[in-house]
Amino acid sequence: MDRRTFLKHSGLALAATATSAFPMPHIARAQAGKAIRIGLMAPLSGVVAAGGKEIVEGFNMYWEEKGNQIAGRPVEVVVEDDAGNPDTALQKARRLVEQENVDFLFGNLLANTGLAVANYVRGNGVPYFIPVIAADDLTQRQRVKNVIRVAGYTASQMPRPLADWALKQGYKRIATISQDYTFGHEQCAGFSQVFTEGGGTIVGQLWNPLNTADFSPYIGQLGSMNIDAIFTMELGADASRFMKQYSDFGLKGQIPLLGAQNFTDQSVIRTSGPECEGIVSSAHFAEGSDNPETQKFVKAYSEKYGKLPSLYGFSHYSGALWVGQVIEGLKGDISNRDKFLDAVLNSELTNSPLGRPVRFDDYGNPIYDVYIRKVVKNAEGKYWNVPIETYPSVSQFWTYDPKEYLAKPPFSRDNQGIKKT
């Protein structure tokens, strides 16, 4: 092959991936001096870039409220784009720690990026806070001491109260449909475990690949299963598409739809029509809660960014608030890492948008009051999640004994914790 044919062939391949292959970071610097330096990583390019942007917004909102100062020390936030890619995330984490000399790391959205960075900081002890990395084992079987889930949650923690609520509604037969990756497996397992142990039956479990363009084959199967309700775990564009097609196929109004928290998150329903109305989900945060603290945050966020806050923005605002309060408690001295980490683990999040204090369990995962939420239209005609019931003090272990729970294998597509009858 001569050079021209070579160029022709390779040009074809390059055109296909020209822009998507590379990340796009940028740096936001505040004042110089003896500052506290924070490395924030978020996917600012790639498929989850929208959520990544909200991570940066929520995180910066807190520091801006504080005037970029904490306990008398200026705060510098160095933002890096992890591109939703674990290899890139690792490289950026290395740069932030070894080149930018940050005091601690924050962020990441996708579980695989978080796990890669967690493995890196395990070796060097840099504190790493993960408000939206939900991989179960990071606070269960593979805990890393310096990785703390401030204002975060485990995947299987949130759907459990929803399963209990479903049993109380008298639902006996439920089918699940979830995205076929770890975050989907774990959330779906939390639901399936509690639902079957309470006497319900999981009739079938469907797994769709990420970025499913057409849900009609799945919806067709669900429609013929003779079920009382559907539990679904989808996020991003998949969630919007599933809702739309579910409604278009006429199942809406016939079979109730229950969703994992991300399914009706603002990042999804912000652009949805009436198809999202009435869907029930469970989460620790509900932007439609009438709690005055929550409303104060929702109002401030909406005024600043022109949209209702999503879970990503909320979690990073709260995470920053939590760590910020600890730094104030330590009078700005975080030079002793062990002391800093212990102080975080023993602290309580107060004055947060949740309007009630939050603390960690013994494994470094927060215990929340979890809302059962329903999507309704608010006074301004926008859809949002309103609490209809509250489950107090839900930990990642639900009602199980942590030691017994941890002795069991982690959830996967094949291990859904379903009770055999």
């Binding site: 092959m1 070579f6 390779s10 391949a13 020209a18 292959a21 740096i27 796990l115 770890t182």
Partner: protein, 319 residues
């Protein structure tokens, strides 16, 4: 082109010495982060050379080498973390697995050329990616597998860097020898005219099969080094973007130059990591660089340099 090839034939050692001097002098001069970038440049240069042997010398552009590279990474991490085995055995198994996978790829792709070869290797690479993504019980799916750290003897970043440098340079000599052997000359013959080589009695498919499998071994070594370097593996290591990035590096450095692989890998990794610190629009700069390279230096950076030298030296002899 011909003069470029002859000039290398006489001086592979000069290049090796220059590379060893440049990369060997880095550790005391740069920060640990920059050293990790240099380490990555070396690992990718090896992957790029494996692509370059096929693309530059046999005229077959592979989009499957990123996946072959990643298979090795997966095997090493799986062996050390899940099976609890020794990392040295893991590296051996990883390289073996990559070579075997390359052999399977080669069986399927050796008989076709041009764009069909490109598409076939692309498809095979996508299969590897799909398996890694969906076979959750083995590969950890989307989350990947976390490694259990490098063995103590090479745990220090500087020591590991020198080990990488030694391995990569040794393999560079081997690859150089390989493409300048009679076998390598046959590959070049196949690139230039397959039908003529066939009528001369050379089995084109057999040669491509062997070349592909052997380059799989080189990519496997790079993958094993990457496993030790990153201590983590996930489907993003075997995805198409990995193969494409390798190919881009080969083109920027200069297809068919071998040593251009180092320049290409360095150029792209440095662009990615340094320009991006100064501007959000660094992808645009990268794109413009590619367009510029294609217009002004279609033989890549090294190819252009050689042409320049050849021109000036011929002018000198004339005058």
């Amino acid at each position: 082109m011909a003069s470029a090839i002859t000039s290398v034939r006489h001086s592979p050692l000069a290049f090796i010495v220059v590379l060893a001097a440049i990369f060997g002098a880095l550790p005391p001069l740069v920060s640990t982060y920059e050293l990790s970038l240099a380490n990555e440049v070396l690992i990718f240069a090896l992957l790029v050379m494996s692509i370059d042997v096929l693309a530059g010398y046999a005229g077959r552009v592979s989009l499957g080498h990123g996946a072959i590279f990643g298979i090795s990474t997966y095997v090493v991490i799986y062996w050390t973390t899940i099976m609890g085995g020794s990392p040295w055995v893991g590296c051996f198994l990883g390289i073996l697995a990559a070579t075997f996978a390359a052999g399977v790829f080669a069986l399927l792709a050796a008989r076709v050329g041009g764009v069909y070869f490109l598409l076939l290797t692309l498809a095979l690479g996508m299969i590897v990616w799909g398996v890694c993504l969906r076979w959750t019980s083995v590969t950890g799916g989307e989350n990947g597998i976390r490694g259990s750290g490098r063995p103590d003897i090479i745990a220090d970043p500087t020591v590991f860097y020198y080990v990488t440098l030694a391995v990569v340079l040794a393999l560079t000599v081997i690859i150089w020898r390989f493409v300048h052997s009679p076998f390598g000359l046959t590959l070049r013959g196949i690139r230039d005219s397959e039908s003529r080589m066939r009528s001369l009695g050379y089995g084109a498919a057999t040669h491509i099969f062997l070349a592909f499998t052997i380059t799989g071994l080189f990519a496997g070594v790079a993958g094993a080094l990457y496993a030790l370097f990153n201590d983590f593996v996930s489907p993003s290591t075997v995805q198409l973007a990995q193969s494409v990035e390798g190919l881009l590096m080969a083109i920027i450095g200069g297809i068919g130059t071998l040593f251009g692989s180092f320049i290409g890998a360095a150029a792209i990794i440095l662009l990615e990591n340094f320009v991006s610190q100064y501007t959000e629009r660094w992808q645009m700069i990268l794109g413009l660089t590619f367009i510029g390279a294609m217009i002004f230096a279609p033989e890549g950076i090294l190819g252009a340099l050689r042409k320049l030298f050849a021109r000036s030296s011929s002018r000198q002899t004339k005058s």
